[in-house]
Amino acid sequence: MSKFKSKKDNALPAVNTASLPDIVFMLLFFFMVVTVMREDTLLIENRLPLADQVEKLEKKYPISYIYAGKPARGYEKYGTEARLQLNDKFAEISEIKAFINAERAAIREELVDYLTVSLKVDKEANMGIVGDIKEQLREANALKINYSVGTGSALDN
């Protein structure tokens, strides 16, 4: 009988990990493709309100972002009132027109009319600052706007 006895012991064979790099690479490529690096460092608190009648913002047209909200932790010296952020720094309401013109200069001429301004405003901000921003945008003739919101029921706000 000893002829048929297995030479190996009966312990479980080690799992073959040769394909592990392939799996990890697959995940890696997935994340590389979907990654979008943050365009602006946020200096303000930015929790978006919720709404359910949302439209997707078309990425094929140029988008400019305007942020507003209370200064985030670490920037308390700028006060507790909602502030405006353009690009990477705090800004005054009057700088919006220059900002829009700079954004327009940076995009191709035929797309200038399609520039959408995305307003990312913290839900605790009040309408005073939003109204001021809208007024400035009207003066700069940037009329397409989009209130960025999270998806959820508006009744929970």
Partner: protein
């Protein structure tokens, strides 16, 4: 001298390198979820003295005061009732010219959807979240009416079981296999039947 074969590169650490990169991208990833409520601001008008006279009954005033209280036609209202009230106002069809309206044809409310205007006013102290909620409900009122209309006229025009929101989505979708010109005509017709007339008071 004996020919030496090149030693094989040890690929054992490949997984580690890949993991390192993977973790980097995992951490820096923000999956974009840019969506929101699109609005068009009114252009700056040259000052003109002519005032367009609009009948009071064709205006639906929504006021959001500094304490986030909602006043609709001067009465306090809960946010959840706003959509229904707006739909009743828009779909009223008081002068009988609107043959697709399902409203009560109350002569004291709006004449037809084309004349009905929603006027939204807010104060500086109003919170942004309350404002967005109200905007959302008003957009929802228009969307509900348009959806209903799309389900009515869609089947005759060859677009079965497609509401207005889906129609718009399909129209933008390059993978949609249907007659886009016909779809555009239906969308435009519904837009004309229930035009979005939402005016914001500064």
């Amino acid at each position: 001298m004996a020919k030496r074969s090149a030693p094989e590169v040890n690929a054992g650490s490949m997984a580690d390198i890949a993991f390192l990169l993977l973790i980097f991208f995992l951490v820096t990833t923000t999956i974009p979820k840019d969506s929101g409520i699109s609005r068009k601001l009114p252009p700056m008008e040259p000052p003109n003295d002519e005032d367009v006279i609009i009948k009071q009954k064709n205006i639906f005033t929504v006021l959001l005061n500094g304490k986030d209280q909602l006043l609709v036609e001067d009465d306090l209202m809960e946010l959840k009732d706003l959509r229904k009230a707006a739909i009743e106002f828009l779909d009223n069809g008081g002068d009988g010219t609107c043959n697709y309206c399902n409203g009560r044809k109350d002569p004291k409310s709006s004449d037809n959807p084309d004349k009905a205007i929603i006027s939204l006013k807010n104060e500086r102290e109003t919170s942004y979240s309350a404002y967005i909620s109200v905007q959302n409900e008003l957009v929802a009122a228009y969307n509900d009416l348009r959806n209903k209309r799309a389900l009515q006229i869609g089947p005759q025009r060859g677009f079965r079981e497609m509401d207005f929101v889906l129609m718009e989505k399909n129209y933008k979708d390059p993978k949609f296999n249907g007659d886009k010109d016909k779809l555009k005509a239906v969308i435009d017709q519904i837009r004309a039947e229930y035009p979005e007339k939402l005016s914001e008071v500064q």
